[in-house]
Amino acid sequence: MRELVVVGGGPAGMAAAAAAARLGVDVTIVDAAERLGGQYYRQPRVGAAPGRRAAHGLPARYSRLEAEVEVLAGWGVWRAEAEGRQVTLQLVSQQDERPARLSAAAVVLAPGATELALPFPGWDLPGVTTAGAAQALLKGQGQLLGRRVLVGGSGPFLLPVAAALARGGATVVAVVEAAPPRRLAGVAASLAGHPGTLAQALGYLGTLARRRVPLLPGSAVVACEGEGRVERAVIAEVDQGLSARAGGRRLVPVDAVCVSFGFVPRLELVRQLVEPKGELPAGVFLAGEVTGVGGAKVAEHEGALAGAAAAAHLGHRPSRREERAARLLRLRLRHAERLAATLRRAFAPGGGWTGWLEPETLVCRCEDVPFSALAEAVAEGATTARAVRGVTRCGMGYCQGRTCGPALQLAIASLSGADPEEVGDLQSRPVALPLPLGAVAVEPPELAPGAPHR
């Protein structure tokens, strides 16, 4: 049995692992990706030519992490269960789909978030993707999505993506931000107390300004058009609820579009652990986006605190100095979390986007479910995501609603006037990631410490 297993090798997971290791805990990190870093510190793929455009990998404070903790890269966790004083994780190798088991006296869950993709007519055309996918392609493979790229959606994530694409050699046609100028001004004002974040934002804005990339607030990419691939983006002005204003649509020639409306916490493993008893079992700690989307800095603070909490749970007493550090960290977290809350409010998408859709716009791309099918089910009285899924198959395909689930939830809320909480999500998944039945059918061995992990 391991002492502490950290699920997720992004900013929260790495910070948790580093903090716990510093306090003397034997730490294991597992991550489905082949290298540490997560989305934010995504490292170039193993074996990828270190292209000029690729990101530079981990920050210096984590450079020794791989030597200090056990890193199980390339292992996905598909199920988590707690019994007594032990948490058991079921793993599946992402290389050869071999199953394995990992048990631990404590676990930090830091599985991060997935992008919120809101559909629009033409979002399924080749060349249209999420901002995160465009960034991953650039960081992981050093590749550009296209030469003339439009970045759209809403939220602070658009700036780094646009800046990176521009630095990487793309012509960024525009950054189309749905939040109205008034709200952006409010955000800018609240950055005053956060010099680091402010400097970062100014850096991105400078990069974009030098290349004369226009910023279009209060606007949205409401459709994409093209023959066999995206050729034009349709931009419209939107109100603060995301409803398109009458008239004034513009067609912009592009060869790629990437859109993001923020992030949705990945809750599968948390739900699996919480659902049996209705509460998080002792010895399980959460960090990062699963606790509410807050970005990399909040995630790192939370990770460090979760790592320290796990260490305390395991009986590793912190020194005075470490206690002082934790207190300071808690203050920093509170400060960073205030900004995160402001950002969440400022960039939360309204429900008006459903008005951009054509009846035949696909919401679920695995099962080809058009928007009209959802609207019909809601009109008949289906009010929960689960009920609408049952009669439309939206979210029943291979991705199991990982892509369309959040959009489905928000669409139902928008159509019925209900609260998204009441509509519910599709994240209660007993199988957190697909794996061969042959790997499910056996009781796998505990992964031996020090075994070759890849």
């Binding site: 009109a379 159509l415 007993p430 697909p434 061969p436």
Partner: protein, 397 residues
């Protein structure tokens, strides 16, 4: 596209001739049958249509797994009613008459299965023995070590949530109501002790002539409220759903051990292989039976056993990906047979529940029987064997 004007849920009426509690496949089938016949019906559900077991099971319409006697007779009647619903509806509810294949793994299983099938045949169920080449021709990917199988061409399948949706539309078309978010919490009684109204979380509804208990796995609690407790308990089942694959099998294939696990008296935690494909190309793998209350967290050992047994039947499944899993609760009585019809302890109550793992298949015959009772028609379906009286004094487990 303009935003819709909000979902449709009917208001709770002040009164209704027949109040049906439970908008699952049973309550909705009963409601549609009665509404079509001109009765004033109101179906109430604490959640909404198909929120209970009818959305967390499968949709097989089976006669093959029924034991000779009233059980099989009722299933044959119900399946013939499903068959008569008509092509137009079939397309909307994914009705497929795909046939069932019951597989015997050992010589002993084969003897038992053959004997059962012969008795079923004498009662009018079509069943065909298949061995060797004939069997491999029908089911090329089946494990070659199985002893033999019986093919039941009449077994069929629907998508229960789509069926419920069609039934809800039919109820409304005929002037009935389907009220979501109305949990029945108490019953109001008149001076003579007769049931006069139901008190729900959305208000009071006066009962005209009848209350139908179609509360599925929760029918035990509801029957208590109604003054006529019957022993219905949740019998949990797991279903594993694979990624969409080509045709591993076109039929519903299950091992003959399944029959034992359905009909046994007390079996704790039994698992037997049930493998089938759906219209969407996914495979559904079952099945398990456990009494663990309404525990919603799936059990890993059960999931593992289901996967292993399915692979033993179709070795090619080992490489197919598991995509999803869920659990559901079968409304089970001590003898695994439904409870249908009047209850002498509460004259206006009609039970329509306790269908265990067969509520979808048995819904049309159930609806016909209940409608006959409500409308005072000569009974077209014999439900004498399913009276609540057989459980006098027994409590739910």
């Amino acid at each position: 596209m303009s935003a819709a004007t909000g979902p449709r849920t009917d208001d709770l009426p002040a009164s209704a001739q027949v109040v049906i509690v439970g908008a699952g496949i049973i309550g909705c089938f009963v409601g549609a049958e009665l509404a079509r016949a001109g009765a004033e019906v109101c179906v109430v559900d604490r959640a909404g249509p198909a929120a209970g077991s009818s959305s967390s099971g499968e949709g097989n319409l089976l006669a093959s797994d029924k034991l000779p006697g009233p059980d099989l007779a009722f299933a044959l009647e119900s399946l013939s009613r499903w068959r008569r619903l008509g092509e137009e509806l079939f397309a909307r509810i994914e009705y497929r008459e795909k046939g069932g294949l019951v597989v015997a793994r050992t010589e002993q299983d084969w003897q038992a299965l053959s004997e059962l099938a012969e008795r079923q045949r004498r009662q009018g169920l079509e069943a065909r023995p298949l061995e060797g080449e004939e069997l491999w021709a029908l089911e090329p990917l089946l494990d070659r070590s199985v002893r033999g199988a019986y093919f039941y061409p009449g077994d069929a399948q629907v998508q229960p949530m789509l069926a419920v949706r069609a039934l809800v539309a039919a109820i409304r078309r005929h002037g009935g109501r389907v009220v979501a978010g109305a949990e029945v919490r108490a019953a109001e009684r008149g001076r003579g002790g007769e049931l006069t109204a139901l008190l729900t979380t959305r208000g009071r509804v006066a009962v005209g002539t009848h209350v139908v208990n179609a509360a599925g796995a929760w029918a035990g609690a509801l029957s208590g409220l109604l003054g006529c407790p019957i022993p219905v308990s949740p019998r949990r089942g797991h279903v594993l759903v694979t990624e969409p694959v080509g045709s591993v099998t076109e039929h519903k294939v299950y091992e003959s051990g399944y029959l034992g696990s359905v009909h046994d008296g007390d079996g704790e935690g039994s698992v037997s292989a049930v493998v089938e494909s759906t219209a969407a190309g996914t495979m559904l793998l079952g099945s398990s039976r456990e009494f663990v209350g309404f525990e919603r967290s799936p059990s890993l050992p059960v999931m593992r056993a289901i996967a292993a047994r399915a692979i033993a039947l179709f070795p090619g499944l080992a490489g197919v990906r598991l995509m999803r899993g869920y659990v559901g609760f079968r409304p089970a009585t001590p003898d695994r047979l439904p409870v249908l019809g009047a209850d002498e302890r509460a004259p206006s109550v009609l039970h329509a529940t306790g269908h265990e793992g067969a509520g979808v298949g048995l819904a049309p015959a159930t609806a016909a029987a209940i409608a006959d009772l409500v409308l005072g028609r000569a009974p077209g379906v014999d439900v004498g064997a399913f009276s609540a009286a057989r459980f006098a004094g027994q409590a739910a487990r």
